[in-house]
Amino acid sequence: MSLIADEIIQFSSVLRMAYNLLTGRNYLKRKKFREKEKLVAVTLPFSDLAFAAGTIPVFPIRMHQFEISQYLTYLGSASSIFGWNTVSNFLGFIRNLGINEISKIVDDIIEDVIDVINKKYNEMYDIGIENGISSDFCYGLKSLVGMHVTKGSNVDACLNVTIRCSAYNKYLESLKAINKGPKQIWVDIPPRNIGNAIELLTNNVSNAIKEFENLTGKTITDNQIRDHFKIGNQVKRAYKNIIYEISASDFYPCNPATFSEIMALLSISFQDYNSNAPRYRDNIMALEREMRERIRKGIGMDVADRPRIFVTPMFGGWEPKSHEIIYELGGRALYADWELLRMLEEIPTSSHSNPAEEYARFLMNATETGIGCDNDKLTDSYLRMARDLNADGLIFFQLFGCHSISNCYTMLREKVRRELEIPTTAITFNKIGENVEQVKTRLGAFMEMFR
C-alpha cells in the first residue's frame, strides 16, 4: 500500500475529498442541528434535485462515524488553519526525506479512506441481512438496507428515483417500512422515451420539486435549480476530463494503482458530492488541475506499455483490491461507471430553458442510452465505453444476486468478442474481501493474455 499512499499524498484535492467523505457525520450533524437544514438520503448519482432545493443530500453511509486515524483528524484541523495545499506540500516534503514513521502514517490515511469505507460497507451488509433483507440480493442493496436501518431515521426525506432494476425499486419501497419518519419523494422515470414521455417525466420532476418545497417550506426558483446544474456541470466536465483525457492517456500523474484508487473515491463520492456541491466542484476541478500540472512537469508514470483494463461495474459492489492486483500484473484498471451510464452528461442551463424539463431529458437519456431498458441497450453502453477508453481488456464484476446488470454478461461477452475483439472475463463477487485469492487467480490468468 505504501506506493499508493506515497502517491496519493501529492494530491491535496484527494485528501480533501477523502477527508470530507469520512468526516461527513460531523458536517451533517452541524447542518441538521445547528443550521436546521434538511437531510435527504440519496443513492446513485441522483442528488441534483436535493441540492437545487437547498437541502443536504447524503449517501447514508456517510452518516456513520468512521474510524479515521487521529492523523487525518489532525490534517483536517491543520488544513482549516493553514490551508490544504500547505498541508499536502508539507507531507510530501517529509515523505521525500524518507522518514519511516511518516510514511507509515501516510499509509494509515489511505487505509482510512479506502479500507475504512469498505469495512463500513461490509458492516452495513451484515446489518442489512440481520434486518431481514435476504442474502440473495446484491451487495449494494444489502449494504443500503444496513445503512438505512442504522442511520436512515436521521434524514428528513429519501429521494427515490426508479430505475430499471426491480430489486432496487422494491428496496426503495421498503425504505418507509424501515423508517417511518422520513418523507418519501419519488421520481418515476418512464421506461422508454416514447410519445410525450419527456413531458410526463417533467411532470414527475416538477412534482418532486413541489415535495421538496413542502419539506423545506421554501419556494424553489428555476434559477436556483439552474445554479445547481451549473455546479453539477462543472463537476461532470472535470470528471469526464479525468476519465477521457487522463485515464485513457499514456502518461499518468501517479502510478496506475493510485490513479484507480482516486477513481474509486470519485465513484463513491459522486453520489452525494460529499453533501456539499460547491466544495466538491472545487475539489474535483483542483484534482484535474493537479493532475495536469504533474503531467506537464513530467511527474508521474509512463503507462503506454500497460494494457488498459476496463473494470466494471463497480457501483453496486466490487473487489477494491482489483486495481492493485491488475497493477502488480502489469496492467492498469480503468473505472468509468457513471460515464457508462450517462450520468456525466451536462444539463443545459440557459435562462430560457425549463430546468425541470432539462432534468427530465437528462434522466431519460441516462435511462435510454446508459442503463438501457433492456440488456441489448445496456451492453451497447459497455461497448461504447470500452471503445471510448480504447480498452485492451474488459473485466466484468458479476455480482451475486444482481438480476439487472450482471445478467447481461453472456450477451456482453458475445458482443465484445464480435465487435471489439478484446479479451473479457467475468469475476463473481459477493462481498468485499471474501474472495481476494480467487480474484487474484482470475486476474492472473486474464492478464496472461497480454504478455
Binding site: 431481514g132 433483507i133 435476504s134 440473495d136 440480493f137 442493496l141 427515490n160 426508479t162 430499471r164 432494476c165 426491480s166 430489486a167 425499486n169 422494491k170 428496496y171 426503495l172 419501497e173 421498503s174 418507509k176 417500512a177 418519501q184 419519488w186 418515476d188 418512464p190 421506461p191 422508454r192 416514447i194 410519445g195 410525450n196 414521455a197 410526463l200 417525466l201 411532470n203 414527475n204 412534482n207 431498458c373 433492456d374 440488456n375 441489448d376 458479476q398 451475486f400 444476486g401 444482481c402 438480476h403 439487472s404 450482471s406 445478467n407 447481461c408 454478461y409 453472456t410 450477451m411 463473481t428
Partner: protein, 379 residues
C-alpha cells in the same frame, strides 16, 4: 386432469389455433399485459406459466447466472431444451418483452434473441401517478400500432370493447372458482387451465362450477386452511401437493394465477361511459393496486388485502387461517418485501410462513418439513 394431459391438450389447442391462422403471442405469466388488446387484434395470448425442475434450471445457465429466479431460469430452460411435452412453444410467433421485473426483461429478451422469436415491447411504469397512467396509455398505443402493422388490420374500438367485455365476463366466472369449497389442488388445476385457454374455457368453467355446487365435496375437517400469496404455483409444480400432504388446504390463491388475475375486472359503468377502450385498460392498470410490480404502496395494499380476507374468513367460518407466502428463490419483488410482509401481518396476529424455494427436487423433503411444522403450529 394432470399436468401432462393439460399440456398435451394445450398443444392440440394451440395447433388448432395456428391451423386457423391465429398468431400466438407469449409472455411471462405476471401482470399488466393487455391481453384484451392482443385478443382484439386476433392474436392468442399465451402465458408462460410453467414451473421448472433441475434440468430446466441447469439448461439456462448458458444464458443467465444461477442467481436468477428459478421461474425465469426454467422459462429459458424450456426453450433451450424444448421437452417433447412443450413442443408447442415452437408455435409461438411473438414474445412480449416486458418489465414486470428485470428478470422478466432479461428472459424475454434472451428467448426472443436466441430462439428467433420476434419481440413485442410493452413496458409498464412503476408508479401509478397521473403521468404514469398517461405513460401506460402510450405503451398501449405503441403496442396497438405494432399489432396493426403486423396484421395490416385496424383494431377498431368496437373489437376492443368486445374483447374487454369478453375478458371481464371470463374473470367474473373465474372469481367464483376461487370461492368454491374444493381441494386446493383441484382448484389450482382449474385456474391454470382457465388462464392458459382464456375466455374460450368459460363454458367448461361454468359447467365445472355447476357440477361442484351440485356435488359438494366434503373437505377434511382436520386439514388446515391456507391463504396462499406471493409467487404463483405454476403448471408442473408439485408444491400444492406438498401442502396437502403436510395437512394443509389452500382455500384462496392470492397470486398471479388466482384472485389477483380474476379480480381485475373493469366496472360496468366505466365500460358504458368510456369512449376510448384503451382508457379502460388504463383504468384496469390503475385499479390493480395489489400488483407486486407497483411501488410504493404494494406492501400496504397487500397487508390490507390479506388482513381483510383473514378477518372475514375466520369470522364467518370460525376456522383458523394460515398464510403461506411463496417466494421463488431470487424473486426480486416477493423476496425483498417478504420479511416486512410477515412482520406486518404477525403484528396483526396473522401467522405467516415465508416459504422460499427453487425448483430443485432435492428440496421437497425440506419443504415438506417446513410446511408441516408451520401447520402444526397453527393448532
Amino acid at each position: 386432469m394432470d399436468d401432462l394431459s393439460l399440456l398435451s391438450d394445450l398443444s392440440l389447442f394451440l395447433k388448432e389455433k395456428k391451423a386457423n391462422g391465429v398468431k400466438i403471442v407469449a409472455y411471462l405469466a405476471h401482470d399488466n399485459i393487455p391481453e384484451e388488446l392482443l385478443d382484439a387484434a386476433g392474436f392468442f395470448p399465451l402465458r408462460m406459466m410453467f414451473g421448472g425442475n433441475d434440468d430446466l434450471m441447469d439448461a439456462s445457465h448458458n444464458f443467465l447466472p444461477p442467481s436468477t429466479c428459478a421461474f425465469a431460469q426454467s422459462c429459458i430452460g424450456l426453450y433451450s431444451t424444448k421437452p417433447n411435452i412443450f413442443s408447442f412453444l415452437d408455435l409461438v410467433d411473438f414474445f412480449i418483452v416486458s418489465n414486470h421485473c428485470v428478470s422478466d426483461i432479461c428472459v424475454s429478451e434472451i428467448i426472443s434473441k436466441h430462439f428467433n422469436i420476434p419481440r413485442l415491447d410493452f413496458y409498464v411504469p412503476y408508479t401509478k401517478n397521473n403521468s404514469s397512467l398517461k405513460y401506460f396509455k402510450l405503451e398501449l398505443l405503441e403496442l396497438k400500432k405494432r399489432l396493426e402493422a403486423i396484421t395490416g388490420t385496424e383494431i377498431t374500438n368496437e373489437k376492443l370493447f368486445e374483447s374487454i367485455n369478453k375478458y371481464n365476463e371470463f374473470k367474473r366466472v373465474l372469481l367464483k372458482v376461487n370461492e368454491l369449497e374444493i381441494l386446493g389442488s383441484e382448484k389450482l388445476k382449474v385456474l391454470q387451465r382457465a388462464m392458459l385457454y382464456g375466455p374460450e374455457f368459460q363454458p367448461d368453467l361454468e359447467k365445472f362450477i355447476q357440477y361442484v355446487r351440485e356435488n359438494p365435496s366434503s373437505l377434511l375437517e382436520t386439514s388446515k386452511d391456507i391463504l396462499f400469496t406471493g409467487c404463483s404455483i405454476f403448471v408442473n409444480d408439485n408444491l400444492v401437493d406438498l401442502i396437502e400432504e403436510g395437512g394443509g388446504n389452500i382455500i384462496f390463491f392470492d397470486t398471479w394465477i388466482g384472485s389477483h388475475y380474476s379480480s381485475q375486472i373493469i366496472n360496468d359503468s366505466s365500460i358504458q361511459t368510456e369512449k376510448d377502450p384503451l382508457d379502460l385498460l388504463v383504468l384496469k392498470f390503475k385499479d390493480n393496486i395489489y400488483g407486486d410490480h407497483t411501488v410504493p404502496n404494494f406492501l400496504e395494499q397487500k397487508v390490507a388485502l390479506i388482513e381483510n380476507y383473514y378477518q372475514k374468513y375466520t369470522k364467518t367460518k370460525g376456522r383458523k387461517l394460515g398464510v403461506i407466502n411463496h417466494i421463488i428463490k431470487f424473486c426480486d419483488h416477493i423476496s425483498l418485501l417478504s420479511s416486512f410482509l410477515k412482520e406486518r401481518l404477525q403484528e396483526k396476529g396473522i401467522s405467516v410462513l415465508n416459504l422460499e424455494r427453487d425448483y430443485s427436487r432435492a428440496n421437497s423433503g425440506q419443504l415438506l418439513t417446513r410446511i408441516e411444522a408451520y401447520l402444526e403450529m397453527m393448532e
